[in-house]
Symmetry: C2
Subunit: 354 residues, 2 copies
């Protein structure tokens, strides 16, 4: 980017031209020529003057022309400047808050998963692009209750209730069979000692305890603690990198993705989940709306797309990220508002839930 320059050094008039150009291009999808720009910019400049300005903008990498006798379209750098100028002004927008509020109200008290799905499909429905919401990831998982159930053949079903609401279950394999009362005893032990404490903390403590009692005569206790430890070990690794995507198919409408190869690569990325999740988690640590334009995301499949994200949470603690994925040529102003408002409403909804 040798020719890149400090955007602040651009004359006001030049920035105005860029702004209008981006707006117009977003509206129409056609390259913008000097004539229409001079008319619509409201600056009272002749097309020739505008041409000169456009020449400058092109030299500095904000716009480009698809071929010599077409108009100009914004580059990623151009979009970036445009978007940054949008973010400076407080977006006070007539929003369809009510629509979402209503939906959220319906889901109140439902599984968090349902809530997330509603929000994701709201995002996609309202923007006509793809909506995405990560599942809320609590920083700490508080153990509420544990239960062991014998399945025979040295298999034990562990049921774990965390955070008042969520039930997780898993089968663990042991090296011997346990009687009903053994299992009850183990569950009682854990429930009594550890209920209300953080799960990963418990795992560590159980581990320590196992070390300590290793030479103990009480082999039984040993095995039980081992078993409980296994249960919590599983818990730690599960449930990662998941999000709810909605309206992916909306993206098929955009000519940016008319290339089937690209489309395929994109959908495969969606299915794999990992890449997109990583991208989203990166947004958890900034607060407020964040925007990746085109290649800024660093993932090749998203080259022609932009992502607008915002973290959501309750009581200031971020528990997830939501966002909208669409073509680089999207109505940023509207999308930013929607994402922003939605993240706040979702935070509130989660709060009221428990």
């Amino acid at each position: 980017m040798s020719r890149q320059s400090d955007p602040n050094q651009l004359p006001e008039r030049t920035r105005r031209i860029l702004h209008v150009l981006v707006e117009q291009y977003i509206r129409g999808g056609q390259p913008i020529g000097s004539r229409s720009l001079s008319r619509v910019s409201g600056l009272g400049l002749s097309p020739a003057t505008v041409r000169n300005i456009m020449y400058d903008l092109e030299e500095q990498g904000y716009i480009q022309s698809p071929h010599t006798s077409a108009g100009r379209i914004p580059t990623e750098q151009g979009y970036r400047l445009f978007v940054d100028s949008l973010l400076k002004m407080q977006p006070v927008h007539r929003m369809p808050e009510d629509e979402l509020r209503k939906e959220l109200a319906l889901d109140a008290g439902a599984e968090p998963k349902n809530l997330i799905e509603s929000v994701s499909s709201f995002l996609s429905g309202f923007t006509r692009m793809a909506g995405v919401v990560t599942l809320p990831q609590r920083g700490q998982n508080t153990l509420r209750y544990i239960e062991f159930l014998d399945l025979g053949q040295q298999r034990i079903l562990v049921i774990l209730v965390v955070n008042d609401h969520e039930v997780q279950n898993q089968v663990i394999h042991t090296d011997r069979d346990y009687s009903r009362s053994d299992l009850e005893q183990a569950a009682n032990y854990v429930n009594h000692h550890f209920a209300g404490r953080d799960v990963s903390e418990i795992r560590q403590e159980l581990h320590r305890e196992l070390q300590a009692t290793r030479r103990d005569v009480n082999r039984m206790m040993d095995a039980l603690v081992d078993m409980a430890g296994k249960a919590f070990a599983h818990e730690a690794e599960s449930d990662k990198s998941d999000f709810v995507l909605a309206g992916e198919t909306n993206l098929m409408n955009f000519e940016e993705l008319s290339d089937v190869e690209k489309l395929k690569a994109l959908f495969e990325t969606f299915n794999r989940k990992r890449d997109l999740y990583d991208l989203l988690s990166r947004c958890a640590h900034t607060d407020g709306v964040q925007i990746f334009i085109g290649r800024e995301s660093g993932h090749q499949v998203l080259d022609d797309l932009s992502i607008v994200t915002a973290p959501y949470g309750r009581d200031g603690e971020v528990v997830g990220v939501l966002g909208v994925i669409g073509p680089t040529r999207m109505e940023y102003e509207r999308v930013i508002s929607v994402v922003d408002v939605t993240s706040k409403l979702l935070g509130a909804a989660l709060k009221s839930q428990d």
Copy 2:
């Protein structure tokens, strides 16, 4: 279909020509002309003769030409005849059973859901089309264990263990609060009386019991039974119409779906799940491989696609359906074998699981 005729009345030679034509078309994707057909059919007929035969086949609706000077391609009716002739002969095929066996072995003992996912992605990977497997739906759900956990605010978490393995949980709302021991008592009651019996049976019985004790002074018992009833009512409605789809994106490669509108409609159908699930369930009652060609499925979005399905189950009882979705122009012979073998292996894997 006025011109449709009994396929059995077609002369052997004519059927042979159709068979070869379909084979060739499946291989190459290009309309087949009389010259190449005469060469490859091995019947020692001149192109002119083949032309006459093709004329007959076209009149009877088995083949058609995209335009006057292209070769011929099979119609749905033509595919149907082709496929039926395939199904008559036992498909004894060198199959990649081992590959799948290995994968299934890895998943042995894992969640059924994981197993299903493996199979689905095997189907898709091996055929390079889309694989689909419905979740196993047991005819009866045997209650193993129930537990009630107070969440406060008149909400109770119900944990239900069915069929030795599966854990279901749900929050029910009650009209008053219950003490810990109330809940324990309720759980004990249900576990003691109903463990090992079918869930929907239990629901009915609880309902009856509720009617009977309505005038009873024992209000407590009343409420408990009511609560348990609620729990089982939920259980009944959950978990329907679900399947695991894999490799949908493979379908994007086929020019049959190069029309973005079609592609979009198809993927939306996949997401909705209902339509496809209904189609699949219809296959549960026939045994052996079943094939829908093009519009035979009755769903418009599948017009250019075919579906090859087979039910799977254990001990003769069908618990689900699996299949492959691909373009009408697919290698039926191979796909039929794969689907057939896979359904049997999955059945066996489920059996060995518990």
